[in-house]
């Protein structure tokens, strides 16, 4: 049995941990409200924008109306934009989205240019790449991957300006570098308890029918877009509108993915910290009980010693 002093020390450290987790929970709880409000407010716009994009893309069979709509037949290399948090202590949040992205890449079997947003994702992917390099059994496409850009410390309430650089890299990758498809891996916010890691295609934009079955099986079910047969009239001209709409709406998809991820991260952290606080409390209770027992035991044994001593004295007096 550990000594009372030992137990007292452990009780103190559990209490300290409890204080830290409570504080983190409170911080996340206030960020989560803001992040949730932001993600829900911008969702209608993002969804409509996506709807318009997909419909524009649907008309763009044959000669693409815009370079970002160009569908290439041979997919030799892909880019994946991976959105994670900068910090840990958010339960399985970071691990889940990274695992989802890696699973996608291993199944799609193409060399990857990673674009990481968030320090945790960068660190995990770096480790993953290093491990593949030393693995003799890894297929060639896994040895041929790298991080081409990394971003971190996005503001708590990002807007289009904050993700402009990310979008620029995405466009450059697709238009100048031999990357034939760009995907985005992020965590979709459903509610405080549930978040869903998913991978969606970002570029080129194209209607569902034009996607290979291969892709359909690998990515998450997408936000539903009602297909209509539309031949738009463009005013002032197709080129003028598409030049404005396509890059901007693509940026918006990235922004929305970042917002969804932020909301998910705060929620995951809040729940993880609440669980930790509760565990700390029940551990504290157990330790307290153990401490009481140990204390009682030492008192009992001291009394026994005294009583025994007194008895011994009595007997020697009598004798």
């Amino acid at each position: 049995m550990p000594s009372t002093r030992e137990i007292r020390r452990r009780i103190r450290s559990v209490k300290n941990i409890n204080q830290v987790t409570r504080a983190l929970e409170a911080v996340s709880a206030s960020s989560v409200r803001k992040a949730q409000a932001a993600v829900l407010a911008s969702r209608p716009y993002a969804q409509h924008a996506y709807d318009v994009l997909v419909n524009v893309a649907a008309q763009s069979t044959g000669v693409p109306l815009h370079p970002l709509l160009e569908v290439r037949l041979d997919i030799t290399r892909i880019s994946v934009v991976l959105i994670t948090g900068d910090r840990g202590l958010a339960g399985a949040y970071n691990a889940n989205i990274v695992r989802r992205a890696i699973r996608f890449v291993e199944q799609y079997e193409r060399p990857v240019h990673w674009i990481t947003v968030g320090r945790k994702g960068r660190d995990l992917i770096r480790r993953y790449i290093a491990a593949r390099e030393h693995d003799e059994n890894a297929p060639a496409f896994l040895k041929d991957q790298k991080i081409v850009a990394e971003f971190s410390h996005l503001p708590a309430d990002p807007d289009l300006g904050d993700i402009a650089q990310i979008a620029q890299i995405v466009f450059d990758e697709f238009l100048q570098v031999p990357v034939d498809e760009v995907f985005i891996a992020y965590t979709n916010f459903i509610n405080t308890m549930t978040q869903q890691p998913r991978v969606l295609p970002l570029l080129p934009l194209r209607p569902f029918e034009a996607r290979s079955r291969e892709i359909m099986e690998l990515i998450a079910p997408e936000p539903e877009v009602k297909r209509r047969n539309r031949d738009y009239i463009y005013e002032p001209s197709a080129a003028a509108i598409l030049n404005e709409v396509i890059p901007r709406f693509t940026e918006l998809q990235i922004l929305q993915a970042v917002r969804e991820s932020l909301s998910s991260e705060h929620s995951a952290r809040m729940v993880a910290m609440r669980n930790a606080s509760e565990s700390a409390e029940s551990l504290g209770d157990v330790l307290q009980l153990e401490y009481n027992k140990a204390r009682q035991l030492s008192i009992t044994s001291e009394i026994l010693d005294i009583v025994g001593g007194v008895e011994a004295l009595k007997q020697s007096d009598a004798g």
């Binding site: 407010a41 911008s42 209608p44 716009y45 409509h48 924008a49 709807d51 318009v52 419909n55 524009v56 289009l160 209509r228 539309r230 031949d231 738009y232 009239i233 463009y234 005013e235 002032p236 003028a240 509108i241 404005e244 709409v245 918006l252």
Partner: protein
């Protein structure tokens, strides 16, 4: 057949109706009235007044750029930024206008001046739309009544 109209800005959904008779859009190529069964169209928005006619009522918004998608049964307005006329306050508009003019006079930086000019343009449009709506004696409906 009535027309469904949805007005969203980047930060919120402003309005949704399924009973519109006509939408008047401030397109970048000029003002344009859209009736039900219009042919599909995609156009950019200028700064200006967006009007939705619903029976006797007219609902007005000030929009500051963006894109409109027209379909036979639905018009979706994706504004960069938008306000309901109901939210406009003439005193605030005056205030903003004066502040912008002062800033403009005080600022030597060309880039900054362009920014302020843009802001000033917004304010002017808001003032004009507000005046026009007042002049028509149009009943201004509160968004809170609707949603």
């Amino acid at each position: 057949m009535p027309l469904e109209v949805e007005v969203v800005s980047r930060v919120r959904r402003l309005y949704h109706t399924e009973r519109a008779d006509m939408v008047i859009i401030p397109g970048s190529e000029g003002e344009m009235g859209v009736l039900p069964n219009h042919t599909p169209l995609l156009t950019t928005l200028a700064f200006g007044e967006l009007r939705i006619v619903e029976g006797e009522d007219v609902v007005s918004f000030v929009v500051y750029g963006g894109v409109v998608e027209v379909r036979p049964d639905k018009v979706t307005v994706l504004a960069d930024d938008a306000e309901s006329v109901y939210e406009l306050d003439m005193a605030q508009i005056e205030d903003a206008r004066n502040r912008a003019r002062d800033l403009m006079a005080a600022s030597p930086n060309a880039e900054r001046r362009a920014e302020i000019a843009q802001e000033l343009r917004r304010v002017e449009i808001a003032a004009k739309v507000h005046g026009r709506v007042q002049g028509r004696g149009q009943r201004v409906r509160s968004l809170e009544d609707e949603n």
